[in-house]
C-alpha cells in the first residue's frame, strides 16, 4: 500500500499533470491580460486617443529601442494591472453572504480553465493533436456542458452580494445565458450534422470537425449557423452589445458591483477567458481550425507544417479577440427586452429552421 502511494506521488505523471495545469493557467492568464491591453489600446484608437503608453520598469526601459517600444505599446501595462489587483486590500463587505461571495469568482474562472484543457490547437507531424488533455474525445459536448456552468457564478455573485444592482444584473445575466444557449446548441448541431459521419466513434470531437474542413470551411456552407453561433458567443460571453449582467450605465457594475481587488480581477480574467474559448470554438467549427486557408494544401511538412498551423490558429484567435473589442466600442447595448426578443423570437427560430432545412436536404440527398 505504502509502496503504491509513494510510487503514485513520485510518478512522473504527477509532475506532468501539474506542469500542464500551470501551463493552462499561465497561457490563459497571459492571453487574457493582453486582451485587456488590446481592449484598452483599441478603444483608445477608436476614440482618437493613444492608450496606455507609459508603464515601464527600470530594467526594461534600460534596454535601448526595445524598452521604449514596449512602453509605447503598453506591453508592461498588464503586469501593472495584475499587480494592482493583487496588492489591493481584499475587502469583504459586511452585508454579503460570505461563502458564496468568495465562491462566485472561483466558479467563474474554473469552467473557463477546464474547457481550455479540451481545446485542440494544432496537429503534430505524426497526426497527434496538440491539446492540453490528449486522448479525451468528448469534444464539443464537454465544452458546452462546462462553460455553461459560468452562469452559476453570475447568479451566485449577484445573489450573495445582497444588494439591489448586483441582483438585477444576475437575474438578467442568468436569463440571457440560458436563452442564448439554445440557439447556440442548435447552430452547432447543424454543423455536426454535416461533418460527422454516423459510424464514427468520436462524432462530436472537435478534431474530426477540423479535419473535415481541410477543403471548404464550414462557414461557407453554414453561414446562417455561423452567424447565429457568433451572435450567441457574444451573448454567452456577456460582451457588448449583450452585456446585460454588467451594464454599468444602469446597474453600476452589475453582478460584480460589490467585488473589488483580486476577486474582481478573477471575474475580469474569466470574462476574457470565455472570449478566448468562444472564439476558439468558432474558429474550430467554422473557420477551419489550424488550416491556413480553405482548399489550401498543407505547406511544408513535419514541424514546419505544425508551426504554421499553430500560427494560423493563433492569428485567427487574435483576430477574433480584436473583433470582440472592435464590436464593443462600436455599438451600444441592447435593451433587456430586445435581448430576450432576439434570443427567443429571432435566433431560436432561425436556428431551428436552419437545422430543419439541412435535415431535409440531407434526407433528400440520401
Amino acid at each position: 500500500m505504502e509502496k503504491i502511494l509513494t510510487d503514485l506521488v513520485l510518478s512522473p505523471l504527477w509532475y506532468f499533470a501539474v506542469a500542464r495545469g500551470l501551463l493552462v493557467i499561465v497561457i490563459l492568464m497571459s492571453i487574457s491580460a493582453y486582451t485587456v491591453l488590446l481592449e484598452r489600446k483599441a478603444s483608445a484608437w477608436i476614440q482618437g486617443r493613444i492608450g496606455p503608453n507609459r508603464t515601464n520598469h527600470p530594467l526594461i526601459s534600460w534596454i535601448p529601442f526595445v524598452g521604449t517600444f514596449l512602453a509605447k505599446g503598453g506591453f508592461i501595462q498588464p503586469a501593472a494591472d495584475g499587480l494592482k489587483f493583487l496588492f489591493k486590500e481584499d475587502a469583504l463587505p459586511g452585508h454579503v453572504r460570505k461563502v458564496y461571495y468568495v465562491l462566485a469568482p472561483i466558479i467563474a474562472l474554473a469552467p473557463a480553465i477546464v474547457t481550455m484543457v479540451m481545446l485542440p490547437f494544432g496537429q503534430l507531424p505524426g497526426g497527434q493533436i496538440i491539446t492540453l488533455c490528449p486522448g479525451a474525445d468528448v469534444g464539443v459536448l464537454f465544452m458546452f456542458a462546462i462553460s455553461s456552468l459560468g452562469v452559476y457564478s453570475i447568479a451566485l455573485a449577484g445573489w450573495s452580494a445582497n444588494s439591489k444592482f448586483p441582483f438585477l444584473g444576475a437575474v438578467r445575466g442568468a436569463a440571457q445565458l440560458i436563452s442564448y444557449e439554445l440557439a447556440m446548441g442548435l447552430s452547432v448541431l447543424t454543423v455536426f450534422l454535416a461533418t460527422a459521419s454516423p459510424n464514427e466513434n468520436n462524432a462530436l470531437s472537435l478534431v474530426s470537425m477540423v479535419n473535415a474542413q481541410t477543403g471548404a470551411w464550414n462557414i461557407l456552407f453554414h453561414p446562417v449557423a455561423a452567424l447565429v453561433f457568433l451572435i450567441c458567443i457574444f451573448a454567452e460571453t456577456n460582451r457588448h452589445p449583450f452585456d446585460m449582467p454588467e451594464s454599468e450605465t444602469d446597474l453600476v457594475g452589475g453582478f460584480h458591483t460589490e467585488y473589488g481587488a483580486f476577486k474582481f480581477g478573477i471575474f475580469f480574467v474569466a470574462e476574457y477567458s470565455h472570449m478566448i474559448i468562444g472564439s476558439s470554438l468558432f474558429i474550430l467549427m467554422f473557420l477551419g481550425g489550424w488550416h491556413i486557408l480553405p482548399w489550401m494544401p498543407t505547406i511544408g511538412s513535419g514541424i514546419i507544417a505544425t508551426l504554421l498551423g499553430l500560427g494560423a490558429f493563433f492569428f485567427k484567435l487574435c483576430f477574433f479577440l480584436f473583433f470582440f473589442v472592435w464590436v464593443r466600442w462600436t455599438i451600444p447595448r441592447f435593451r433587456y427586452d430586445q435581448v430576450m426578443r432576439i434570443g427567443w423570437r429571432v435566433l431560436l427560430p432561425i436556428a431551428v429552421l436552419n437545422l430543419l432545412a439541412y435535415f431535409i436536404w440531407y434526407a433528400l440527398r440520401g
Partner: protein
C-alpha cells in the same frame, strides 16, 4: 403656424436585422482607428496658445523699461473676486520717471481668488495689466500662489507700446513752458 407631421417610416427588413447598421458602425470605428490620435501628451507636448488667450494676469513694462502701472487702483476696484491688492507709492523726484504720476509700492494678485475674467485688463487706463499666455500655475503653499509685484513684472515682461503717454505729456509740458505759458 403650419404643422409638419414627420412620417415615421417603419424599419425595413434589413434594418430590423441590425446587421447592416452594425457593419456600417464597424466601418466608422475602423476609419477612426486608422486616423492618428488627437491626444496631446500634456507635460511632454504643450498646446499652442492663441494670441488673445486669457491666462495669468501680469504687469508689463513699456519699451523703455518703465513700469506702466500708475497705481490708480481701478483694477483693484473692478476685480470681481477681489484678488488684486495694491499699495500705492510715490515716485522719487530724482528718478527718471519723476514725470509719471505714481507707481505701486506693492502689487499683489492672489491667484487663488483670480477668476481670469480679464476685467482688470479691460479697465486699465494705462494698458499696464495683461492676461497673457501662462496657463499652468501651481504652488505648494497658499502664500506661493500670491503673485507679488516682482513676480508680476517677471511674468509680464515687455509688450510693444506706441503711445508712450507719459513721455509725450512731459514733452508737451516742456514745450509749453518754453513758449512761456
Amino acid at each position: 403656424m403650419a404643422i409638419k407631421i414627420v412620417v415615421r417610416r417603419p424599419l425595413t427588413f434589413a434594418e430590423r436585422t441590425y446587421l447592416p447598421q452594425i457593419i456600417a458602425g464597424l466601418k466608422v470605428t475602423w476609419d477612426n482607428m486608422m486616423r492618428p490620435p488627437v491626444t496631446l501628451q500634456y507635460p511632454d507636448e504643450r498646446p499652442t496658445i492663441p494670441k488673445n488667450y486669457r491666462g495669468v494676469p501680469t504687469l508689463i513694462a513699456d519699451t523703455n523699461g518703465r513700469e506702466k502701472c500708475v497705481s490708480c487702483q481701478l483694477c483693484e476696484f473692478v476685480c470681481p473676486p477681489k484678488a488684486i491688492r495694491i499699495t500705492p507709492g510715490e515716485i522719487s523726484e530724482t528718478s527718471d520717471n519723476a514725470h509719471v504720476e505714481k507707481a505701486p509700492k506693492e502689487f499683489e494678485i492672489n491667484m487663488l481668488r483670480c477668476i481670469y475674467c480679464g476685467l482688470c485688463q479691460e479697465v486699465c487706463p494705462e494698458e499696464a495689466i495683461f492676461l497673457q499666455s501662462q496657463y499652468s500655475l501651481t504652488g505648494l503653499t497658499r502664500e506661493s500662489m500670491v503673485n507679488n509685484k516682482a513676480k508680476l513684472y517677471e511674468l509680464g515682461g515687455t509688450l510693444p507700446d506706441n503711445h508712450h503717454k507719459w513721455d509725450k505729456k512731459k514733452e508737451e509740458a516742456e514745450r509749453q513752458s518754453h513758449e512761456g505759458h
